[in-house]
Symmetry: C2
Subunit: 458 residues, 2 copies
């Protein structure tokens, strides 16, 4: 099992037995030595890589990373999580919308059964206003899920349930107060950017390197709050390594008013190794505000998301925004509570993970013929990948040619706060969540033709 | 029928045939003249009175009011509307909470049936994000209801559905922009006050006379936006006459940036005559922002309210806040849509109106013995009344004595923006919506004892 190797090495690194900068044996040598298959050692290394414990240097091999501070990360039961988001635009044959989700696999029967049972109780109280933060039982169920699945450490008291990301960010703005400057990864999730600017915050776009938000660049700005998506950056697909997470936490720890907003929108779907625990779980100083949603993992229409506030901000919330009645109906909260606690959510996530893995693998297989004209990235997690042109075609040309062939792809520029700042090579985003394998095949076939790539796939 | 008399006289007044200041025959003389019962002429006069077309001068009779501008108010089918709000606090024998609603009469079976039917469709689209303003069909159903029941004139495009009053006021703040000064009736609905201050608006409390917000006082302040509850002021229970409404509209019309926010939270329940059409229906210049809710007329947990924006602000909304996804799930929107369009809402309102009328009459009967030590007001509409002490007892003393007898009543001061500004005689608010007639009887019995009023009722 690759897990044993992974755990062993992680422990050795964390205890300092394997020092920073030390070179590791190659996966081949280690496999021979341990008498396991090479894919086993590769998987172990990949998990260590994606968590940032080791680094890969092209043509030289793997090296132990410098870990500023050791992290306590609870072990995750593997094979458990999956996700999704909003509807794609239509009007074309194949729409690679990164906001689509697969609703064919939604457990309608179960949702209906739960709804029926909850309404059958004729529970008068359900029709009254409930706790402004959300039903305690639901918050406790969310806490338990976040703890085991995401390594989030909090009490149910710290959780605020609300109707969607935008509302919750608006509420958070009340809690954080005005006068802040928000740093955001660039490109980023534009909805969050729109909410922040609508609340009057100046937003500073901060460049990313391959590990995520550039902390040196963050330091140069005057931001006191940084909005990041460490588990799978949208849209770049970067999984932020542990070291970068620690650097961000260090930055936040340097001043009283600094906070990190961790948007964990897309944490449930990973195709290589285990999900990486949330940044929040590494936070010792109450610096991380965690925001999550069921929009992708269940359905957008559910309109349930949640904030996890550090204790200091929880007190601010109670003072400044505690009077806001919950925006989610108690009936819906109870349906979700049952869905979570009766094991349906876990089953649904497992199912969706396998569904999305199938689509992911299908798309990745189809895209093989695109290399070396295009390079693929962001493919380790989430429900979209990025295709970068290695030649001189411009992004709009790629989009336009695809559209002429009846395929919608999404140019990276649209995710930039200022599109003219896009210095990446021409890149388009391909989401695949709400496409069937037949549609993926057809879409790729059309793209090949539109972009004049090789012959048909064999 | 009193309606004929009412319509005839209203038309005469509006066409100027009955001039301002003219004295009307007494109800007795008119009844003899028309060969109808005196209660018929009384009802006609009362409706004209409550709509402000005529005025009553004690010991002198009824006079035609000065109507600055004629209003077009569509005729309302009568006997149609009822309402309610949030849960009362508990821990006492009888809680006269003004925020309670009667949920014993909620049509659980119908709600369940509709929910089941909607989920049975396995309608995938329901689980995707919908229109940010809310489902078009639901908005059209709300428009139709508002038109026929409240005289509101708008298109479905102007309606924005959202999860509750606080959220909608927050959204409205984005639309209105910062730098405004909000005038509020004093005492008022404190939740709205809290939202406005949380959004950074200075709030100017404006005194009321017996007709509602004092427009002269409004003019003295620097407010450019006035939040009013013309159909039943909370908590004073004032029904704003037409003349005052026109004065407010005139004030708003005098400057480009001025707006009126009409909170019509409590429009469905009236016990004398017909509901008074909304201020919005009188507005010719796009000056009224209408806000309504189903929290009281259906149930708080439904979490559905709506804004009706004038065209100019609708454009602002689309620019500044159109990106906010709806906070109400599509499933819930569809349930409500069915409830409205299949006639259940109308039936429910009729039922609740009769239920609340019964409770209202019961309470009013019980309170007769309180005069002249107390005077009752605000009893023509809504689901609460006010009891003012004509002697020297202080409000806290009344509250305290009641509490000692196991009864919760609500001192008027708590509805003041600055409680120390309360210059009304000692007054308590009694809500009766979620009390049974037995509880009302018991509550009043205890109050009599606690406040040392006369003997037991006969």
């Amino acid at each position: 099992m690759y897990e044993q190797i992974y755990h062993y090495m992680k422990e050795e690194i964390r205890q300092g037995n394997l020092g920073a900068g030390m070179k590791l044996p190659s996966t081949r040598v280690l496999a021979e030595h341990l008498k396991v298959s090479r894919s086993t050692t590769q998987m172990a290394y990949e998990q260590l890589l994606s968590e940032g414990y080791i680094e890969s240097v092209p043509c030289r091999g793997y090296f132990i990373s410098a870990i500023e501070e050791l992290v306590e990360v609870r072990d995750q039961p593997s094979g458990q999580f999956v996700t999704a988001e909003e509807p794609g635009e239509d009007g074309c044959a194949v729409d690679f919308s990164p906001r689509g989700i697969d609703l064919d696999s939604f457990p309608y029967n179960i949702w209906r059964k739960i709804s029926k049972n909850i309404l059958v109780d004729d529970n008068k109280a359900l029709f009254l206003n409930g706790d402004p933060q959300g039903e305690y039982a639901l918050r406790e169920a969310i806490r338990s899920y976040l703890h085991s699945a995401r390594g989030v450490r909090c009490s149910a008291d710290q959780i605020i349930v609300g109707a969607g990301n935008e509302y919750l960010l608006m509420l958070l703005s009340l809690v954080l107060g005005s006068g802040r400057v928000i740093a955001m990864e660039n490109p980023t999730y534009k909805q969050a950017y729109r909410v922040f600017t609508s609340q009057g915050y100046p937003v500073l776009p901060v460049e990313m390197d391959r590990q995520g938000m550039d902390v040196a660049a963050l330091r140069q700005g005057r931001a006191d709050t940084a909005y990041v998506m460490p588990s799978h950056q949208y849209p770049m697909g970067i999984v932020m390594p542990v070291k970068r997470r620690q650097e961000l936490l260090s930055w936040a720890g340097e001043a009283e008013e600094r906070y990190l907003i961790e948007d964990d929108y897309d944490s449930e779907f990973r195709y290589k190794g285990k999900p990486i625990p949330a940044l929040q779980g590494m936070d010792r100083d109450g610096k991380v505000i965690y925001i999550g949603t069921f929009s992708r993992s269940i359905a957008p229409a559910i309109r349930v998301g949640f904030l996890v506030l550090p204790p200091k901000l929880l007190a601010e919330y109670k003072k400044k925004a505690g009077f806001f009645a919950s925006t989610v109906s108690r009936i819906d909260q109870n349906i979700l509570y049952r869905f979570l606690t009766d094991g349906y959510y876990e089953r649904h996530l497992n199912r969706m993970r396998s569904v999305y893995k199938g689509k992911h693998d299908c798309l990745m297989g189809e895209l093989k013929g695109f290399e070396p004209v295009f390079s693929v990235r962001g493919e380790h997690a989430g429900i979209h990948v990025l295709l970068s042109h290695t030649g001189s075609s411009r992004e709009e040309e790629l989009e336009k040619a695809a559209a002429a062939a009846g395929v919608r792809v999404y140019g990276l520029s649209r995710y930039f706060i200022h599109p003219e700042q896009n210095r990446y090579p021409s890149t388009v985003v391909l989401g695949y969540a709400n496409l069937t394998e037949v549609e993926i095949h057809e879409g790729v076939r059309r793209l090949k033709k539109a972009w004049k790539i090789g012959g048909e796939p064999s």
